[in-house]
């Protein structure tokens, strides 16, 4: 369909090759996202075990590497239970929406620089839209619906409390997150994730690919990081599923793969938010001496190396999420709200004003 439409504009061969390349990129990106999320469940246990001086899963496969498959098997074969008083359709829709929102974000993230294959130049990115960062922000804003609808449809007081906590937490932290992104946008002058990374590919003090935004936006990065923890419902901000107060929070009534989807969506969100953080603050696919590598080994090798390092940055982000989870205790709910509204929000506004002043002074 798309090709017939595009035939008038371009040659069919050109179109087919580009379409095939894009299809492969989309499949690879999706596969990596799901694969990383799957093995995050294994890594979480290993990291927690390491921090508590245990060895973690060891039985299924070498060093427990088949544990995620065993988990998936268990999830699929468990009894599918829907409470009698639950709203059946919304109860099913909750985990579906959580998964949908989690899987949508990776579409706009630039995974790598420009490559050239079969005479076609292309970016390692599924779609390049000129409002990429707003798209990410919109999908993040939609992520809370899965939790809210699931929690309400369970018809359980603890689930409802979890859902309400999730809603107020997400709304509160979205503001500070948006403001910290605005400072990055002011630096770059574009909403496109590609342009944001392009700026960071430039040399800093003569080192190519080192012009990372984190050197210009340290405060903004810390605000964004804190908000990312809150948006992913991770400890120390996992109040919606706080088991000491709410049993299981919004997923108290869930069992089998529907519970699995909620947990899986959380791991996808962690990986994606690490990737977004890497894109916004840690240069995306840029790495030190990028131009030297490109000159010595060719543009394709340099781009693939950047792709690998970008995934590596994302994996380190996931590790950081786990590190914090097994280090810090959970906040109290009023502390969470005070931190969001009385500390992060004014700090984020101050950051925007400061960035504006500095841009005016140094331009």
């Amino acid at each position: 369909m798309w090709c017939i439409f595009a035939k008038t504009i371009c040659d069919l061969d050109y179109c087919m090759i580009l379409l095939l390349i894009k299809a492969v990129i989309i499949l690879v990106v999706f596969g990596i996202t799901l694969g990383v999320a799957t093995y995050s469940t294994w890594a979480e246990r290993k990291v927690s075990a390491y921090m508590q001086d245990r060895i973690g899963p060891m039985r299924a496969g070498w060093a427990g590497l088949l544990q995620p498959l065993a988990d998936a098997g268990k999830m699929f074969f468990k009894e599918e239970f829907i409470p009698a008083s639950a709203n059946k359709w919304l109860f099913i829709a909750g985990p579906c929406l959580a998964m949908l929102a989690a899987c949508m974000t990776s579409a706009v993230i630039p995974f790598g620089g420009e490559m050239e294959l079969f005479g076609e130049k292309f970016l390692i990115q599924a779609v390049d839209i000129n409002i990429g960062i707003l798209y990410v922000f919109a999908v993040v804003a939609l992520g809370v619906y899965g939790v809210m609808i699931g929690g309400w449809a369970s018809n359980n007081k603890f689930s409802l409390l979890g859902a309400i906590r999730a809603a107020s937490q997400n709304i509160s932290y979205e503001l500070a997150m948006g403001l910290s992104i605005i400072a990055v946008i002011m630096l770059t002058g574009s909403l496109s994730l590609n342009v944001i990374v392009d700026r960071q590919v430039q040399p800093l003090f003569g080192i190519g690919g080192m012009n990372w935004n984190v050197f210009y936006q340290p405060l903004g990065f810390i605000i964004f990081l804190t908000c990312a923890f809150a948006e992913c419902n991770r400890t120390p901000f996992d109040l919606p599923e706080c088991e000491t107060e709410l049993i299981g929070g919004y997923h108290t009534e869930y069992s089998s793969m529907k519970l699995g989807f909620y947990l899986f969506a959380e791991y996808i969100n962690m990986f994606i938010s690490s990737l977004v953080m890497a894109t916004l603050y840690f240069g995306g696919y840029a790495y030190p001496f990028m131009d030297v590598v490109a000159g010595a080994l060719g543009q394709n090798i340099a781009a693939l190396l950047g792709f690998g390092l970008f995934i590596g940055k994302g994996l380190f982000g996931v590790f950081f999420f786990m590190w914090v989870r097994w280090t810090l205790p959970r906040f109290r709910y009023d502390q969470l709200m005070n931190l969001g509204w009385k500390s992060l929000f004014p700090l984020a506004i101050a950051n925007v004003v400061l960035t504006g002043i500095l841009i005016l002074l140094f331009q």
Binding site: L90, N130, A141, M148
Partner: protein
């Protein structure tokens, strides 16, 4: 292709807007309203207004509707709460709805020229760079006035929600 998409989105938008009114359960109404906002976003994308489309999702579907859902979940309305309306209420509702219909019909019957103006139309106007320039150059005063209006509303909301000295709500 675009025309079929337009009709599909319009039909879905009208259908979900009707379902907002006809649903017995207020939570279902809110969910249909969210679906309606998504249809409107689709229309904006068809008009090449990407910025407006995404901001519509962020602000309406992502924030305002979450708060709607939040409040309705707190109220815990029963599905059959609205059955016992007195007849007078129904009568008044029918009259006011009918008056609105009369106004709409009279306005729509005056509309003769349904053609869009093609000359001087720039298909790139909806992109964020152009929109920003138009807002901050040509329409700066209305834009700033609107922001002052928002500020006043926000201050008012904070004043209303503020706890009085010595008062405890829990």
């Amino acid at each position: 292709m675009a025309v079929q998409l337009f009709y599909f989105l319009s039909a879905l938008a009208v259908l979900s807007a009707l379902m907002v009114v006809f649903s017995r359960n207020p939570v279902h109404s809110v969910l249909y309203l969210i679906l309606m906002f998504f249809c409107l976003t689709g229309h904006y994308i068809l008009l090449n207004a990407q910025f407006l489309a995404i901001v519509n999702i962020i602000v309406y579907a992502g924030a305002i509707m979450v708060l709607f859902l939040f409040v309705i979940m707190f109220l815990n309305l029963k599905t059959d709460a609205e059955k016992g309306q007195p007849p007078l209420m129904k009568f008044i509702a029918v009259i006011s709805g009918g008056l609105l219909l009369v106004v709409m019909v009279s306005i729509l019957s005056k509309v003769s020229n349904m053609e869009a103006k093609k000359e001087g139309f720039d298909s790139q106007i909806g992109l964020v760079e152009n929109l920003g320039k138009v807002l901050y150059k040509d329409y700066l005063l209305p834009f700033e006035l609107a922001s002052i209006l928002f500020l006043a509303a926000m201050v008012g909301a904070v004043m209303l929600g503020k706890r009085e000295a010595g008062e405890r709500h829990f």
